[in-house]
Symmetry: C2
Subunit: 301 residues, 2 copies
């Protein structure tokens, strides 16, 4: 069988990395798959048991030393990227394609430009797939299917980098993803508005409500939906907030201004202002859902 990649190395064998291994396997996209787990943690062994990877190691350098990789995908928390880039850099075969599944892109693209040799290609990817569940046990071969992948091409476009971008785009599309290209700064502002802010809101709502246990007894489906993502992974979210600080702060400010608007209307018993506000929200929500149904509905991340 003719595989698009001879040796794919997945660094990070949690939910996203292990699901990626299962999906690569299912779609015959890589001949050999190596999973790199965290030291002192058996996630790569679990990924191997689940058939997501052929080989399991905890050493990124070892993963590419005996068998050079033509595809490397970073599926670890964002702040581990610089160390991994530094470890891999001296050992990378020219032309290696490197991508990731990180939730922010600007800082990652800067690190890649700074720390990786110019002979390899880093393409930033953000598959909008995931779950509030974590770990290789929660992995699913269809996690990426039917979701959107935001992709950031390198700053300097050359025929080689364009070809590299195309191969990574093909990879995600082979997994059933819809790909959208945007520059890294735009990407980070967008996900701040629709993902990083809503997560901060869910964390804050859960904390506020947690101080009133009797109230929690009265919680219904709306509250449960609003706080589902409050169960997300603390390490991942710490990383996201540190690596997308400015865009997240701007999104929190813009939301706070909106909340202040409806609060002021309630404060002054302004019936028309309250109704207009809720009606405008309802309409925005409806057109969002209508547009969303017309495209591939992106899933959670």
């Amino acid at each position: 069988m003719n595989h698009p990649f001879q040796h794919a190395v997945i660094i990070g064998t949690g939910l996203l990395g292990t699901s990626l291994g299962l999906a690569l396997r299912k779609h015959n996209l890589a001949k050999l798959i190596t999973g790199v787990g965290r030291k002192g943690c058996n996630s790569a062994a679990i990924a191997q048991q689940r058939g997501a990877v052929d080989r399991a190691t905890d050493d990124p350098a070892a993963a590419i030393t005996s068998h050079p990789a033509d595809l490397i995908v970073l599926c670890v928390p964002i702040r581990q990227f610089p160390d991994i880039f530094r470890t891999l850099a001296p050992k990378l075969a020219p032309g290696t394609l490197i991508t990731d599944v990180g939730s922010t892109k600007f800082q990652i693209m800067q690190w890649a430009a700074e720390l990786l040799p110019p002979t390899v290609h880093f393409i930033g990817s953000h598959p909008m797939a995931g779950s509030e569940k974590t770990g290789p046990e929660a992995a699913r071969e269809d996690l990426y299917n039917n979701a959107t992948c935001l992709m950031c091409p390198p700053d300097k476009s050359t025929p080689e980098s364009a070809a590299a971008f195309k191969r990574i785009e093909d990879l995600w599309q082979s997994l059933g993803m819809r790909t959208v290209s945007c520059n890294a700064a735009d990407h980070d502002r967008r996900v701040a508005a629709v993902s990083h802010l809503p997560h901060a809101m869910a964390f804050a709502l859960m904390q506020a409500a947690g101080k009133n246990p009797a109230a929690l007894e009265a919680a219904a489906g709306g509250f449960t939906d609003m706080t589902r993502i409050a169960g997300s992974d603390p390490t991942m979210w710490t990383d996201i907030y540190l690596s997308n600080r400015d865009a997240v702060l701007a999104a929190i400010n813009s939301f706070s201004a909106e909340l202040a608007t409806i609060k002021a209307a309630i404060e002054r018993n302004d019936e028309n202002a309250i109704r207009d506000y809720v009606e405008a929200s309802r309409q925005t929500r409806e057109s969002f859902i209508t547009r969303r149904r017309a495209t591939n509905a992106p899933k959670e991340k």
Copy 2:
């Protein structure tokens, strides 16, 4: 057949009223059911076509003139209650049980004490059932099943009022609801924290995100969940905010203080503070879900 009620009058034939009619019918709780719709609106006729009510009218007084009612349930927006109480008051048979499905209770209990004759019993009910859908077309006979009903007994307890409370409690329990008793002020503070605040957050998030259409393209499941209730009915929510103003403002303030806490941690790049905050939210969410699974899970309202 021996029905607990001879003539139930449902005032308001939207989602909640029509679903109540279907449920009363299914469980043989009332011999005759009259639905009172809004003037110039065919909702009562639709409820009748759906078999939720036997008779349809748009006049609350007419509904109880020819056939005295032993049960009246108000399923209209809260601010219509005083007019309906005034219209019904001179025509109510002694001993009539009156309840409601309103989302706030303090103001309603005050109006009932003030406007209804002392010969009838008003028991405040808040079935935590509903949907972001509206109208008799969306009604379901199982809407109330397996949800929680918060109930407020009258301030002055007498053997008669206790018996009245018991009959209304039996009614909701017959529909498959778990009943929880609490005083009206506590009720309003609790629902402000877990329902009225989350709705305001969803309205504000939808408005903030709506100003960034490109960002909406990147929205995933978390955002969709967080904004589902932004599609709720403007009239109902205007009523709720006007009738539960102080508790809602307090809940918004308490949430805003929490959001400011995580925002400040992000602002000062405080890794430990961010991680601790997200971890605490995750734990609170987990224990909430564990407790919730141990009881009957209340549904949406």
